[in-house]
Symmetry: C2
Subunit: 239 residues, 2 copies
DNA sequence: AGAATAGTGTCTCTCAGACAATATCAC
DNA sequence: GTGATATTGTCTGAGAGACACTATTCT
């Protein structure tokens, strides 16, 4: 071994790497029947066996954090191809009864019915719960993670095009308005809403109409103002 | 051992906790001579010996993440009593040549001269660098952490009272405007600026004036509109 | 016919941003 | 006196938000 190689390794001392496992938890939101819902699973194994919790698991050696989150989500719930965004990291000592675990939480927003959900590994059941009626108690500090995630979602709604992530490529303005109303938890004025999303170029007309139980509604799609986390003009509706 | 205790431990299997160390890195910003600066240290040990990098270190067994960040910052730079905010977590495989390390990054914004900085553990020098003239290369992925931190700072400036964190309890409007100009990197109109911060109640008049090299400037302090991360009316100045 | 939703326009008020001249203090 | 900074007000244009009625489709 050459001198420079020895120097290189000099900084490695196992005693400076105290044991803390790295995990990831994933909060997936969707909109179903006009309500904001979260994907939870009934845990089949300890700890917190038989409690509901977020999909989660440990980081594997060669995996990036986002990859781990994506893999864990797929393994435990079957949901694939979901775009995940890092939320925050939770590492309170004692949050996992087994040992010190630091968990990097991710969130996702998906159109209802775009993800296939099934019961997976370490899981007894997988189910969408209304965000305002979660089962209690949740495993670990998952209640805290979820409340952080909801706060982030509400904030992002006002300055980013997140709302579109809940919808398929083509949607009606009524559906889009429904997303805002469900997340914000209040009604918004239809005329102001339409005027604003169109002026901001958040959406633009797409071909076709949705024939529904009543008058046909025009389809819209993401507009040029909705490019990847853009939309600086903040959105606020009514009071 | 009782059955329930055995059940409890059943979930513990060392093989599911692959070795990844948890670390923390801290990006401290300040304003000095009208320029945004970052606190860096010259590393005295491997890896990246003799390169500049952020203060950082490993999580200790009983420590919360924020505590670890605070301790590491104090040990390596002497800065104490700094309010830290979690930024994001960086965990790309290979970001540390020794082993897999996941780092939870924190940021802080401090008034120039409110922190005592000195050379500390594992450190050869500690110095403030202008944010737009950083030494290269930086250790690990610290360049990426810093650019994320700067982006976050710029965003927060517009909808939160972060700017006040760079200033002492009493300050002049000229100083406050200087913070905005340094972070945004452009000039803002003095009249619009004053009108806006006062109308938004971000600041209010404090007793006294600052006698300087020229006309005395009135002191101001944080106003009722500046309570902990509030200020929803987004700030934008000029173009 | 009735229920449910789609679609549409105007007004007011507030705020963002452009813009310039005078007073004060230290040297 | 000079240089540097403090302080002050008005106008215009854009956007937020309040507000109500008609048309369509399905049952």
């Amino acid at each position: 071994m050459r001198q420079d190689e020895r120097d290189f390794l000099k900084g490695y001392d196992p005693s400076v790497f105290p044991p803390a496992a790295v995990a990831t938890d994933v909060a997936v939101f969707t909109l179903q029947e006009g309500k904001l819902k979260v994907l939870l699973l009934l845990r089949a194994e300890h700890p917190f066996q038989d409690a509901w919790g977020l999909p989660g698991g440990f980081l594997q050696p060669q995996e990036d954090l986002a990859q781990a989150a994506s893999r864990v989500l797929a393994e435990e719930t079957g949901a694939r191809g979901v775009y995940l965004e890092q939320l925050s990291t939770f590492g309170r000592a004692g949050r996992d009864p087994r040992m010190r675990v630091v968990s990097v939480a991710y969130t996702a927003f998906v159109p209802w019915n775009r993800v296939e959900v099934r019961t997976g590994r370490r899981t007894r059941e997988v189910e969408w719960f209304p965000a305002h009626a979660l089962p209690r108690p949740l495993a670990f500090d998952h209640a805290e993670i979820l409340s952080t995630a909801r706060a982030r979602l509400r904030a992002k709604l006002e300055y980013s095009p997140v709302a579109l992530e809940f919808l398929p490529a083509r949607f009606t303005l009524g559906q889009l308005q429904g997303v805002y109303e469900a997340v914000l938890g209040r009604a918004v004025d239809k005329r102001n809403f339409r005027q604003k999303v169109l002026k901001a170029r958040l959406v633009r007309r797409a071909p076709g109409v949705l024939k529904g139980r009543h008058p046909p509604a025009a389809f819209y799609e993401a507009g040029p103002g909705a490019r990847e986390g853009a939309i600086y003009p903040p959105f606020r509706w009514d009071r």
